[in-house]
Subunit: 407 residues, 2 copies
């Protein structure tokens, strides 16, 4: 299998390190807007010979991406850029006749009048609109194939197939106990993106109502995470799983809650109340007279770059899917989960835990597609495929998952 | 009495409106860096004939200020600018042989090694260093003569003279229930200055220890404010009263606590944790490439200008001095206070409550100096003078004070 990886940031670089250890990969072209990042990722893998090569690529240049896919005879485009570039990369792969994988889907837009009650444009809508064209040309766009969305969706399908007869509710729950030495406050992921996803109206699915939205930080609950992480306050956040799971899995209700913790939620609310979350530019004194800047950019500039914090970070991150329903007439409740310890991921791969946990899943999926264990055409989520081969291969990658019976 | 008022902002403008109604004033020169502000203040008082005139003046230009005092034959300089300009105005008045009044004192600097335990340069140190020179030339610098410091110090002296035989503790306590229609969060005073005073190490006085500092927001207590304001969470904040009161009033302990309320304290802490309180410039994306801005300026730019919020504001603000000690061998505890209702101050003077409450006190003091009820030379605080004439005249101004026995 020949792969074009677009994006050599934290996740993209971890993808190369994980894929390098697997035989299914014939060649991976590592492309980035910044050629130094692509070359650094490839240079770190020189013992793997010429299986990796670096290219400069502008992810927003659809025609340039199509040309590169054709020139390099790539079977698949793996998108490891930020969600702004989903649509041009998705369309370029379709034009080139390549398969496509991503870890986040096309962006949403809130409902213009009732943003906290009704959906406007939903996450992934832009991609699902082209589903027929993908099916017609016999190519697969496997969307939302990171950890969340991604592994969480595989867990949902596994629960439906093997653990439950009927499912009342599926709730993806994400929590961590990561701390960064030397910083009172240092998010382990981009604050700009966190503000974006946490302040967008969260989406919820109910079988008799369809998709709808709520106010930010709604339905707070304390979820007890496994492997020593413990209880963390979680709130509704807009996430792809809520849009993907109900398309392939029968459930009464689907939610996504993010374990931000009380303290971080309070900080985000304060930023919002003070207008510091805004991306609209305002006028402030500069060094040579007034300048225009976006408050959210200033917040980001005040905090350390999370990509560089792996060495100072300790703790674990947990992604998982809580499922409630019945099996053989009896009530059942389970939490299917995957924990990565930052010390382990730094030692094994030199990658920060959150980044590594995102990166391992698309590599597992590529291997399943390469071996034919997973096949399909059209625009499909991870829950459209048989879950067992994925979960077994993830364990074979050295990163096992867990199941906790809740009662 | 001929007065040079420097600063025609909110407080300065309110000073002109209050002074215009009193006969003791022969002439007031209203000076500002922005001549439009000075002229606007004077134009609003045209029914008062030529008792008021406007001038442009740079408060940092010591020689220019001295010249203006001499040209205009002013007896007194009243400083209504921000504390950065205390020292040049204070020195200019001394050079010109004029008396001097201000409402905030020269700035502090934290102790370089132990900022939250020991004082560095204290508020007012720069002014007290020149006390002998003021005494030698027989002129008075009446420092800290607003509401807090100012009226709060008069209350302290009144308690010592008339209400107590011995004082264990004097605690200035400031609280309000002001809200601004249409804003979830809108401070009634400059956020830039609030950050400055709240994040500086608070100073505390104890008789057997002298002055020392603590961590910001230390010793939280809920104080019950009178006239319907009710309980508000107060914390230690650096303020002039702690430095002034012990110089003239015998007390075991002196503190200043600001009724910021839980919510505002949490917001200030968040700004600090995220580094958004910083005045150091950092690099962020601008409209035409990177620019350098100070995060605190960006925070200020995100919030409405408090000077323009009077019309939308409702509620009351309370300044006062809580005193605990003994009288005739029995324990006693009182709160001496002054409340201004924003609706009243807007209707009567067109001035927002916090601004008006600050402005009325230096006008009362000027009148006491003009009539000879208060006399003195050197650098003196409000507590160096007999308190009764001040309190009676404040009541005559239509803004009475109150006394609450605490037990």
């Amino acid at each position: 299998m020949r792969v074009l990886l677009v994006g050599a940031g934290g996740v993209g670089t971890a993808v190369t390190r994980i894929a390098a250890r697997r035989d299914f990969l014939t060649h991976m072209v590592v492309a980035d807007y910044d050629p130094n990042r692509a070359e650094a990722a490839v240079a770190a893998l020189k013992e793997h010979g010429d299986r990796f090569s670096a290219r400069r690529l502008d992810a927003s240049d659809e025609e340039g991406v199509r040309r590169l896919l054709t020139e390099e005879r790539c079977d698949v485009l793996l998108n490891a850029t930020d969600p702004r570039f989903v649509m041009p990369l998705f369309r370029a792969a379709l034009e080139a006749g390549a398969h496509y994988l991503d870890m986040a889907m096309s962006l949403s837009a809130p409902h213009p009048e009732r943003p906290y009650e009704e959906c406007g444009v939903k996450l992934g809508d832009g991609q699902f609109e082209l589903a027929e064209r993908w099916a017609d040309v016999g190519r697969l766009a496997l969307v939302g194939m990171g950890v969340e969305p991604g592994l969480s969706d595989v867990f949902a399908r596994y629960a439906a197939d093997e653990l439950f007869d009927e499912i009342d509710e599926i709730g993806v729950r994400d929590g961590a106990d990561l701390t960064v030495e030397g910083y009172g406050f240092a998010p382990s992921f981009s604050i700009w993106t966190t503000i974006e996803e946490c302040l967008n109206p969260p989406v919820v699915y109910e079988k008799d109502r369809g998709w709808f939205t709520t106010a930010p930080f709604s339905e707070p609950e304390v979820f007890d995470f496994p492997e020593g992480i413990g209880p963390v306050e979680c709130v509704n956040v807009e996430h792809e799983e809520v849009l993907l799971i109900p398309r392939w899995v029968d459930a009464g209700r689907v939610t996504f809650k993010y374990g931000l913790g009380n303290d971080f939620i309070a900080k985000l609310k304060t930023l919002h109340e003070l207008g510091l979350d805004s991306t609209a530019k305002l006028t402030v004194p500069g060094e040579d007279g007034p300048v225009r800047v976006s408050p959210r950019d200033v917040v980001a500039a005040c905090l350390p770059d999370p990509a560089g914090l792996g060495e100072r970070m300790t703790g674990k991150t947990c992604a998982g899917t809580w499922v409630k329903g019945t099996k053989n007439g009896a009530p059942r409740e389970v939490y299917l989960y995957h924990v990565v310890d930052n010390q382990w991921s730094m030692r094994e791969y030199g990658s920060q835990a959150v980044v590594w946990q995102t990166a391992v899943n698309p590599v597992v999926a590529l291997e399943l597609l390469a071996t034919g264990a997973w096949t399909g055409t059209g625009v499909l989520g991870p829950e459209a495929f048989p879950p067992r081969p994925f979960l077994d291969l993830l364990t074979e990658y050295g990163s096992p998952w867990g199941l906790r019976e809740q009662n």
